[in-house]
């Protein structure tokens, strides 16, 4: 049994990224990226396609190892952690995948049970059932519990994926392009749901997106990822009123 990590959950700064660099061959995706995430805030990282947004979020959750720099979450540097220690952090950090990543051989119930059983092995079936129902009710899809992911629409799949992310009651939720591939109405519904969840569970959100609706509706702060760096940061108003040509290009 691995030693339990002491997570500094009470700290105001839940995530501190310093000097993050990541390259793939000669493609320098992230170059000295810095970011701080304060408890309860919702930060949208905005950048064009291929700017390294998904690489950033996968470095944060430990799926990609950065070349240089540190990512401190609850006081622990993610690149320094081994697999078991990383799992303890991941139980507190939810991740919503761009493609939803629902297990297509499992029902909605089994999809939601999966992280519960992996992280909290001691939890009994009655408790599991209650938590699954609660998570599905939060996203308004309790009736889909015994359906297969293939039977759900794109928006419903996104909601189920969000329910799976929520089931472990994470302190931080990382959203990787949550509205990609959805129509405008469904996108708005998903963004509203994200905001509702953040307010209900007081989570901290880091949203990777290039959707302006997402920026306007869900962000307390916007970070512009340009040329692999945190190029500009501020409230939606500050960013949209920026005179910097690279920033202006996004809003024109």
């Amino acid at each position: 049994m691995h030693a339990e990590l002491k997570l500094d959950i009470k700290s105001n700064k839940v995530m501190i990224i310093k000097g993050l660099c990541k390259s793939f061959a000669n493609n320098h995706v992230l170059k000295d990226f810095n970011l701080e995430l304060v408890r309860g805030e919702s930060v949208v990282v905005l950048g064009k396609s291929g700017s390294g947004k998904s690489v950033l979020i996968k470095c944060i959750i430990g799926l990609i190892k950065p070349d240089k720099g540190s990512i401190h979450i609850f006081g622990h540097n993610i690149p320094d952690l081994d697999h078991d220690e990383l799992d303890q952090i991941r139980a507190k950090v939810g991740f919503l995948f761009q493609s939803n990543a629902l297990y297509d051989s499992m029902t909605v119930r089994e999809n939601l049970e999966f992280p519960l059983r992996r992280h909290w092995l001691e939890v009994n079936q009655k408790e599991v059932d209650r938590m699954v129902i609660n998570a599905l009710e939060d996203v308004g899809l309790a009736h889909t519990i015994d359906m297969m992911p293939v039977e759900l629409s794109g928006g419903m799949r996104k909601r189920v994926a969000l329910a799976r992310t929520l089931i472990l009651k994470p302190e931080i939720i990382l959203y990787d392009e949550p509205t990609t591939g959805l129509d405008t109405i469904t996108s708005k519904e998903i963004i509203e749901l994200m905001v509702e969840i953040q307010q209900k569970y007081k989570t901290t959100s880091l949203i990777i997106s290039h959707d302006m609706n997402c920026v306007r509706m869900a962000s307390d702060r916007v970070v512009m990822l340009i040329d692999g760096k945190c190029y500009a940061s501020g409230t939606v108003k500050e960013i949209t009123q920026s005179v910097d040509p690279k920033v202006k290009l996004f809003f024109e």
């Binding site: 996968k58 959750i61 799926l63 697999h83 799992d87 991941r90 139980a91 991740f95 995948f97 761009q98 493609s99 990543a101 629902l102 297990y103 297509d104 999966f114 992280p115 992996r118 992280h119």
Partner: protein, 204 residues
Amino acid sequence: MIGLTAFIMGLVLTMQLRPSMADYGVEAQLPAIVAIAVIREVGPVITALIFAGKIGSSIGAELGSMKVTEQIDAMEVSGTNPFKYLVATRVLACTLMLPVLVMLGDAVSLYGAYLGVNIHTNTSFTLYWTQVFDNLVFGDVLPAFTKSFFFGFAVGIIGCYKGYNSSKGTEGVGRSANSAVVVSSVIIFVIDLLAVQVTDILGY
């Protein structure tokens, strides 16, 4: 599918061998020769090739599609080691189940051979099986059974490797499935070649 193929192989092998054996006047040895050929070589190799086509491709495609749809990443984020959960289980299942399928295939193949023998002669079921078992020795069965474990392991590990390392997109999934079958099939023959050398050295 393995049953049908094995049945046809047993029947065809018997019908192909009969004229030559009749020329040498050893037609009575037909059940024994077919049994040795099926148990030592035809059964394990044909079964393994069909297994590679069906299971190897399905493992390659399944893990490949899980990779491109980020399901493997999701598993890792959920606190599961995908290597243990997806790879180890599949490799173990392939390694343990292929020998079982080989035994089943051998039995069906020998039944097909019995029908082949009876096309031109009237051999009783009991006499046929007596001739089969009288001429089979432990040294025929053990190497064939042992190498089928290696065939199963190869199909499982290659299917998982190809799927797990699938490149992005549906084209990558197709390529993984295809490559899993092609590489597994070649490796089956390589293992067979090595197995026959080892068997020869050990005197079986």
